[in-house]
């Protein structure tokens, strides 16, 4: 577009702003030369242009965002605060800080985050934490002690039968009716002939037993009954046994004949030759029924040891107390007792200490 007297103002403003290319600037200058009355107007527009002042900002440094304290320098400062630098590294860092005021300021800020080591906090009741020699803590594991006690008890129970040679059979205890001593009445069947004489021996309870049947046979033999009659005796014994078993106790008293005291046969005397063939139970029954034998002591519950020497009632696991003391079981008991005394400080007059508490034990 060419400059003319209708559009010269626009060209003059562009000229003042230095927005025209070289050709158009020459065209404007040529136009002003041809139209000298418009030169004054161009000069007025050029006079409105502001000059560039020489001006500097002194606080420019505060505008920076620590760009000079880079990541590595900050990390080094933190390591210095934590006392984690070697001597060489520390010296190098100190030199850097000295040359850089910003780094020094940063170091001071980081140092202010360090906590004061002067301890003004005291632990209350510190004296409770001290331990003295007498305060022995015995860790009492109830379950372990109980298990140990049970195992020891079981071991002693079975060990007593092994260690003690004088142990009696387990089934040796015999319960004897304390009120009734079995008494025998030897009755001889009236209806039978002598050669078939059978003495039916019954107890007061009315219940015959095999042992009693045997005694019948012995009696029969002692009375001189012929051997060939023995079978009949046995048969009759068996039959009578069955009959007797079927009857009630109260009415089971087939009293056939009561023998007189002179005819009273001392079973013990008769059976003396036969003693060897009798077992212990038979002997027992005979001993029980023999009126010449003195009554037994402790008839409620007793071991089968009916000797007169068995006077002591002190038993430990079916053994006499004295025997236990002398046996291997006794030594185990003694050792156990000593160990418990030592561990729990159990002595005569000393209390038991468990877990810091004292349990008085007289």
């Amino acid at each position: 577009m060419l400059i003319n007297r209708n559009n010269y103002e626009t060209f003059f403003l562009l000229y003042a702003d230095d927005e025209l290319c070289t050709e158009k600037r020459i065209a404007v200058e040529s136009f002003v030369t041809l139209n000298e009355d418009l030169r004054g107007e161009l000069n007025m527009i050029l006079a409105a242009i502001l000059p560039a002042d020489d001006f500097s900002y002194t606080l420019k440094d505060s505008l920076y965002k620590n760009s000079f304290v880079n990541g590595s320098l900050q990390e080094k400062l933190l390591l210095k605060i934590d006392n984690e630098l070697s001597v060489e590294e520390l010296n190098e860092l100190n030199n850097t800080i000295a040359a850089n005021p910003s780094a020094l300021k940063e170091e001071q800020l980081l140092a202010s985050t360090k906590l004061d080591t002067a301890n003004t906090v005291l632990c209350p009741q510190k004296e409770l934490l001290y331990k003295t020699q007498n305060d022995t803590v015995v860790v009492f594991k109830i379950v372990r002690w109980a298990a140990a006690a049970i195992l020891i008890g079981v071991g002693l129970f079975f060990g007593s039968s092994i260690f003690n040679k004088k142990a009696l059979p387990v089934n040796a205890v015999v319960k004897v009716n304390p009120t009734i001593r079995p008494a025998l009445s030897i009755q001889i069947a009236d209806s039978l002939k002598d050669e078939q004489a059978i003495a039916v021996i019954k107890t007061d309870s009315g219940i015959p037993s095999k042992e009693n049947i045997k005694k019948v046979q012995i009696v029969a033999v002692a009375k001189g009954i012929a051997t060939n009659k023995k079978n009949n005796i046995e048969k009759y014994s068996a039959e009578n046994t069955n009959i007797i078993n079927q009857k009630e106790l109260a009415s089971n008293k087939e009293v056939l004949k009561t023998i007189s005291p002179s005819e009273n046969i001392s079973i013990q005397n008769i059976t003396q030759p036969q003693t060897a063939s009798l077992n212990k139970q038979d002997k027992l029954q005979m001993a029980l029924t023999n009126e010449n034998i003195e009554p037994l002591e402790n008839t409620y519950a007793q071991a089968i040891s009916f000797t007169a020497a068995e006077k002591s009632n002190n038993k430990i696991l079916y053994m006499d107390e004295e025997d236990v003391k002398r046996s291997k079981v006794g030594t185990v008991f003694k050792k156990l007792k000593r160990m418990i005394e030592r561990t729990a400080n159990i002595k005569t007059g000393n209390p038991i200490r468990i877990g810091g508490f004292q349990i008085g034990a007289d």
Binding site: D82, L115, C123, Q125
Partner: protein, 161 residues
């Protein structure tokens, strides 16, 4: 460890352990329980603990007990909060301490523990790692983050000393 060595540990380190736990839990009763628990455990294990390592053993046990306590209780509102700056003659210094303690309370439990173990007890990164169960790099990173957070809090316009 003999009985005498154990009692020496009580004399030397009970206050430090108590301070460490108290500043974390900010409750005196709980801190006392944790300290007593730590010493009781050390007494029970005294035959296995060397005298040289009793201090780090104490702090390890106390730190673990403290973490267990925090997880169990999960306190939101602190009761009977411990105020260290209640008394003080120098107002400006106390103010700085107060601001620092406030900044400390803003940290997480781990960061707070690391800062206290470093500044109060003087442990190095490896020892702090053994106590807290972290590795050395983790200790370094967490500790540096904590320090920068403290620094940011201190230079806040409302906290400028």
């Amino acid at each position: 460890m003999t009985d005498k060595e154990y009692n020496d540990c009580v004399k030397l380190y009970a206050d430090n352990v108590f301070r460490f736990i108290l500043k974390n839990l900010r409750n005196e009763e709980d801190a006392r329980d944790v300290v007593q628990g730590a010493y009781e455990k050390m007494w029970v294990s005294r035959h296995k603990v060397d005298n040289d390592k009793c201090r780090s053993f104490l702090f390890t046990v106390a730190y673990n007990n403290m973490i267990d306590h925090i997880r169990k209780n999960k306190r939101v509102v602190l009761k009977d909060e411990f105020n260290e700056t209640a008394l003080g003659s120098d107002g400006l210094q106390q103010n700085a301490k107060r601001i620092l303690n406030e900044a400390l309370s803003k940290l997480s439990e781990t960061q707070r523990s690391l800062v206290m173990l470093k500044d109060y007890e003087g442990y190095n990164y490896a020892e702090i790692g053994e106590i807290t169960g972290l590795n050395e790099s983790q200790v370094k990173v967490y500790l540096h983050r904590a320090r920068l957070l403290l620094r940011e809090y201190i230079v806040k316009p409302e906290n400028v000393i």
